[in-house]
Amino acid sequence: MAESSRISWPKSEGVRRVPYGVFTDPAVYAREQQRLFGGRAWNYVALDAELPNPGDFKATFIADTPVIVCRNRAGELNAMVNRCAHRGALVCREPHGNRAALQCVYHQWTYDLKGNLTGVPFRKGLEGKGGYPAGFNPAEHSLRRLNLATYRSLVFASFSDEVEPIEEYLGDQIRPWIDRVFNRPVKILGYARQFIHANWKLYVENVKDPYHASLLHLFHATFNIYRANQGGGCLVDPKGRTSIIRAWRRSEQDDRDVEGVAPRTHQKGYQLTDPSILESRKEFKVELTNSINHIFPCVVVQQIQNTLATRHILPKGPDSFELLFTFFGYQDDDAEMDRLRLKHANFVGPAGYISMEDGYATELVQQAILRGEGDSSYVELGGDMEEEDENLNTEAAIRSFWKYYRCVMEI
């Protein structure tokens, strides 16, 4: 990797160290566009429920590349690069909408909902003057199409023709957990956006890091409603692309104090004035209090109590990203479940009781590693194991991510 010779992974420790340069180096970011996002990856772009009708479109991004997802008249989903084939202007300018056709405003080149060029103003010029040459073939000037795959309600796009089928990509270990959440048709409940001043991979590390849960997020400890010894664990697929961190209640054990927990988490004397926020309803065959499921590269499927959301990580340069929460429920939810999901949304998002700190923590890292390219982080918790670990004091999922990342990036 000539253009970023500053990145050197410690040879003996491997992914138990992460050189800080990967979070700051513009050359690494540029390489990610091509090798990672533009390579054999299924990039999350939408939930199908965002595009229920023919003509519905969503204008989103795969890293730096603007992308359109839309439903054509036959009801099929399509993904294209959001860049006019003429002179490169953005075609869809709003984040969502409904159109009979996609038209670039610059010179009104018009495309159908599959991205085929269907209209070119003054194609033959005017009064015999100007216009395109006789050999002009609209079929050669379509929007650049991406491969598209859906898995249950999740919609993915890929620049690669060699990427494996989505089922295989998600992996046998993790797919059942995705099935658990996407077990029936969903409906969109709303969006929340955060702009975080940190590299996107710091957030990926965060969602693969159960260690911080009880130490950074003090909400439960403060109100005496959480113990570090609650049941939980993390599971990763052998390739390191997908992972899930799960937590569940372990009955009476939860109510006992644990030795060795940092004093900061032992804040006595507070109780929720209104504990109604803790009321939840069982809705899954396997009950979990928290389930944080990362799918490489940039989406997290989360369930925290009765709140369900995807978290789309949208890189915006080497040192910032947008975090887009898409909250959803099921189409057959009753009014009480609707109410619970809205109430539990207090736990996550930009003001989330147990999520607001995540973005902030990644910023604290970004602020401190500037000019620390020669240094690296220490990712040894839980030893060398890189697959399944039935406890929450492990960084195994983080290591598995870096293993796959290094393989894709060849660094």
């Binding site: 709303g190 969006y191 929340a192 909400f219 403060t222 507070y270 004035t273 809205l342 003001a351 902030y360």
Partner: protein, 163 residues
């Protein structure tokens, strides 16, 4: 006591001024007292309102939940130290009947960083509209409902101090 629009406007403007002063000067322990016991306080991005989507960033449906937010603010949640300056204006009294005032006002919040990296930097943090239902309780105007509709959908880092 009947209330005319002029009285209603005066009441709401005083309430909004005191409310902003309470938050901007870090007296958050007093903040829940601006609300009735069975209040609704919600912060929701315009993005969701305009698409008829109900999820907000904060949804409190009792004053107790506001008190819990304050305890979490002081004790549990971690965030970069900062202060707010609310600019509240363009107050509109939508209706005023049976001791209930429906009012709208614009707000702009300038957030000034107090952390070591960005100390003293002020930025527009949030712009939007207050949609308030105000009642008089024991001689004091209070919010029975305060819906904050934020034009600023993309929250810079996080939201912890109330709007």
């Amino acid at each position: 006591m009947g209330m005319d629009f002029r009285q209603a406007r005066w009441l709401v403007e005083e309430l909004l001024g005191a409310y902003a002063d309470c938050i901007d000067n870090d007296r958050l322990e007093e903040w829940p007292d601006f609300f009735t016991e069975s209040c609704v306080y919600k912060i929701i991005p315009w993005e969701n309102v305009s698409r008829n989507l109900a999820v907000g960033w904060i949804l409190c449906d009792t004053r107790g939940m506001l008190q819990d937010r304050v305890v979490a603010y002081r004790t549990a949640n971690l965030y970069a130290p900062h202060r707010y300056r609310h600019l509240v204006g363009a107050v509109r009294i939508v209706s005023c009947a049976d001791e209930v005032i429906e009012a709208r006002a614009n707000y702009l919040i300038v957030r000034t960083a107090l952390d070591t990296v960005r100390y003293g930097t002020s930025e527009i943090y949030s712009a939007g509209e207050y949609q308030d239902r105000v009642v008089v309780e024991k001689g004091r105007a209070k919010f029975a409902e305060k819906i904050v509709v934020a034009d600023t959908a993309r929250v810079d880092t996080l939201l912890v101090t109330p709007i």
